[in-house]
Amino acid sequence: MSLARKLRYGFMKDVGAPLVMGLAGVKSRSKNIRKPDPLFGPPLKCAERLKEIMTRHYFLSRYAEGAKPVAWVTSGAPVELLRAFDFYTIYPENHGALCGAQKLGPELCAVAEEKGYHQDLCSYARIDLGVCFSGKTPVGRLPKPDLLFASNNICQTVMYWYRVLSHKWKIPLLVFDTPFNFGQISRSEINYMVMQFEEMIPVLERISGKRLDQKAFENVMRLGKESAMAWGEILAAMKTVPSPMTIFDAFVHLAPIVSLRGLPVTLDYYNILLSELKDRISKGIGAIINERKRLMWDNIAIWYKVRDFSRLFAEKGMNFVAATYTNAWAETISYMDETRPMESLAKAYSLVILNNNLDHRLNLMERLIDEYHVDGLVIHSARSCKPYSVGQYDLKRLLMERKGIPSVVIEADITDYRAYSEEQTRTRLEAFFEALEGGS
């Protein structure tokens, strides 16, 4: 790390970023004076703050290279360990979602495809490789990493994808290998994961030039745990009828717990959001004006359709109040214990939904259906995400048998809208709406 870069980063953090954010905020506020929408309740006030946080994160990342150790990290990796070494972290999946929401997926995927990466591959990966090959990104520039940190607790795909990055940049790849839970997690599996953490420490010390500060690590663990608990409370607020926010809001407000987990800003932000939701609940304010039916979403969002779907379902008086996806960052938080950091991280990160057998997912979905008073289920069969999608047809059938709720499968992709058919989706949704209304 160079002193000049450190000074520049410090200056941008303390002076440049607040200035730029201030200017951007004024511009954004003057642009975003929206008329009330008859379908929706008032927009969440804290959304502006979220925009500032994420813009600042990507803005500052441009100056992190050479000033701080930079790591690119998968969404399910135990980042707490890296935070203790003061890594600046970039989440390609979060960045991919952002590109998807801005409908840039096909353009960036095409760059990777031209280099030989097949269209059947995960579109988060193709977007990321497209960004790496072209340098194009809606956030200005992504810093080149010093380290790659991947955990296969969400999929094996990240392991294949990060190997490509490791090859391209000739930088180390740390893999946190989480044995899949076909049944129950065993003592030897926990020991294996703890041993991996112990093996990572010297690598992290070498790259960051710092020794592991146990106190700082415990503090990060505490912050990560409290943030995830706050996120869990935010999601639980949607149990209220009418729900004070929709799952489409949650898809957006998920960004800090994914990308900034273990940092004070995340906890602060979620406390603001939670307080606003509680206020809305006390005043009976719903996210949509006429909440007649409550739905659950399965799988990652279809990022380029979030806004359209939000309107389409709101027009029908249907509100998404639960999702297996958003729940993933709160589900295992009870295992986190800063007094036993390694073992608790191993449990919290290996017991997440996608590292568990399908029976686990079925039970979770049944519980969410009951707790959130869900009337129907929309299943996104995502070409990009096989661990999330393989088994969904059986889940649909079993949930119908056990809970008697209608459901629909939408064949699509998370960011590549070339794999989405508007006509087919509309036809399926019309049938679903009919089934749902028939059940009222």
Partner: protein, 367 residues
Amino acid sequence: MIMNGHPEARARRDYILEQKRGFGRRVIGVFPAYYPRELLLSMNILPVEIWDPPLESSHANAHLQSYICSVVKQGLELILQGKCRDLDAFLFPHTCDSIQNLASIVNDYLGIEKPCYFFYHPKAPYKESSRWYYIKQLEDLALRLEKQFGPLNHHEFKKKVEQGEDLRRTIGELYRRRAEGTLGLSNVEFYRILRQVEYLHPDDFLPVLTAILKRPPDRKSKGLAVIVSGILPNPPEVLEHLDRLGINVADDDFLSCSRRLLARPAISTVPFEAMADSYFGMQPCCTKGSAIEDRLKSILDKAKSSSAKGVIFQMVKFCEPELFDVPILVEGLKAEGLATLVIDTELNQGMSGQLVTRLEAFAEMIG
């Protein structure tokens, strides 16, 4: 395990029944790819691998999306068509996301009354913990199998591990002879014989290989050489066509073949330790998370030692682990002056006219 009209499938079923009746062996259907074969054999269990059963896929489509690979689809189809009646259990190694979830579908949702066993093997980059965990996994699988199949006989285990070493050595010799062009087998013959490893007991398979190796060297077969990479040599028509074009597959990088059948000799003589030596001594593989540069080096070494002119990547459609590696492998091979061809295939679907033309153009290019 029967596809009554298919001669090889019929041979498999007859063999399985003979093994059960004649040797009191139990049979486990094993999905791809890496599993501790010797452990099963030492418990008098015959592993029968399920890679590409020749079936029309119909039932599996009700459970799996159109974008799932045919290895997973055909495997599920075999179960759903009731063609696994002769099996006593299933074993699912943790190979990829799709096989992982297939295991869960079969175990959790299909209501089949056969025990399902799972085997997780550590993913690279390997550390000390990886080896420790791999041995723990072996011990744990042994304990689970003992509940159904009776106690592990450690003397028998040691013998089977030694036999496994012998088998790898023999297959290694088969590969070496083929690479030098003295084996005298066509591409089709070579893989037809080698793939018997998927269901023959080593007591029967080893003599087949030994007999081939005892034949006098056949120097006529040295022709234009290529390496073939991918998951498995299917559809076999690709091999047939290469034979017709006078192109010899001098070596391979198939997951079902050299990547798991060859390994450095084990150092330890303690069975669990020796099995770990073998696992970590196998060739680099994307499904185990090996670095791509290691795999590239391995293919380049094969090309060099067999004087191959090019590499054909025979891809199973939708196979993510392979698809991620290919662009870097192609780039690296081209940089070393090797021609490359990437072809998309579906299991048991033969070859399209376009594919025939592409193979012919490739042959002309390297000829």
